[in-house]
């Protein structure tokens, strides 16, 4: 899939990357379902690109000098970038980003991104915790997401509400 192929990220170990988007299967979504896991390698170049795209030029996301001066171990990823990667876990599962009706997280620990070619590997998993149907018959799945880096949890209470097709 060209969009992913041209992505600055090296998407590793994604069971659902590319053209496996599973919108047509979302009717079968049930509580307890696991989302296809996603692992994304984030490098300094990705942080620079996200800074430009988002407009967040806080130097703790590109300058070791500034990051260490405020007590960080080094340059850290934008929390909103990590949140966006969690969003990808959901959109790659459901197919259409417009289906995401609510999305929230706490930022619990920073993702430290070393100045090398490997960067940091952010690993994301998700579980459907509930499926509800409203008066009109529209179904919404509630998803709980876990994000970790190097075995450390980096986001907390990450949830999304996703409108299911059909």
């Amino acid at each position: 899939m060209s969009e992913l192929a041209s992505s600055p990220f090296n998407t590793a170990a994604s069971a659902n990357a590319g053209d496996e988007r599973s919108e047509e299967h979302a009717c079968d979504v049930a509580k307890g379902d696991e989302l296809p896991p996603l692992a994304v390698r984030v490098t300094r170049a990705d942080l620079v690109r996200y800074a430009g795209a988002s407009g967040d030029f806080n130097p703790i996301h590109w300058s070791d000098r500034v990051a260490t001066s405020v007590g960080l171990p080094g340059v850290i990823a934008h929390g909103m970038l990590t949140m966006a990667l969690a969003g990808r876990l959901v959109t790659e599962w459901i197919g259409d980003p417009a289906a995401v009706r609510a999305f929230g997280t706490r930022f619990t620990r920073p993702v430290v991104v070393p100045d090398d070619d490997e960067g940091a590997l952010v690993e994301l998993t998700g579980t459907v915790t509930d499926v509800v149907e409203d008066d009109t018959g529209a179904r919404t799945a509630r998803v709980s997401i876990k994000a970790s880096c190097g075995g450390t949890t980096v986001l907390g209470r990450t949830t999304a509400e996703v409108r299911l097709p059909g």
């Binding site: 969009e3 690109r49 988002s54 966006a84 259409d96 417009a98 609510a102 930022f107």
Partner: protein, 147 residues
């Protein structure tokens, strides 16, 4: 000292922000969002959308500048250099599409101080130029007590 008089205030609406196809594509590329509806207009239309669809966190591109303007306002007394992002949420009232013109009203909802750290809750109500609600975002921002 953070100026508690701001709590409960709503700032004047921002000028309309026009969502462009190019900005959606740029943001989608930056976060690795590969959904075709974020980059390919034909795919978006085939999916029932008027134009390209913004990724779930796209709104930071225009809500964060509105928040930053407040947080850097000396009248607020916020220590921007010691700030961390505590939490963030988005509630979509409808999807954001390329071509939308969006107005943001920033609300200062809550300020708490605990052990020298300040916790500020800011809410952005985003609407189209007709006043129809599009998105609500909330952010908890924290300045940590000096160690």
């Amino acid at each position: 000292m953070v100026n508690a008089a701001y709590v409960g205030r709503a700032l004047p609406p921002t000028p309309p922000y026009r969502v462009s196809r190019e900005k959606i594509r740029e943001f989608a590329l930056a976060v690795g969002e590969g959904a075709p509806v974020c980059s390919d207009v034909d795919a978006a239309r085939a999916g029932g959308h008027a134009d390209l669809v913004a990724p779930p966190t796209f709104a930071v591109t225009f809500t964060m500048p509105a928040m930053e303007a407040l947080l850097r306002d000396p009248e607020l007394g916020w220590d921007y250099s010691r700030m961390v992002h505590g939490d963030q949420s988005f509630t979509a009232h409808r999807p954001i599409h390329a071509g939308d013109e969006l107005v943001t009203v920033l609300h200062v909802d809550e300020l708490r101080t605990r052990a020298g750290s300040h916790f500020l809750t800011l809410r952005c109500e985003v609407a189209d130029t007709a006043g129809e609600p599009v998105l609500t975002t909330t952010a908890l921002l924290v300045t940590q007590a000096a160690s």
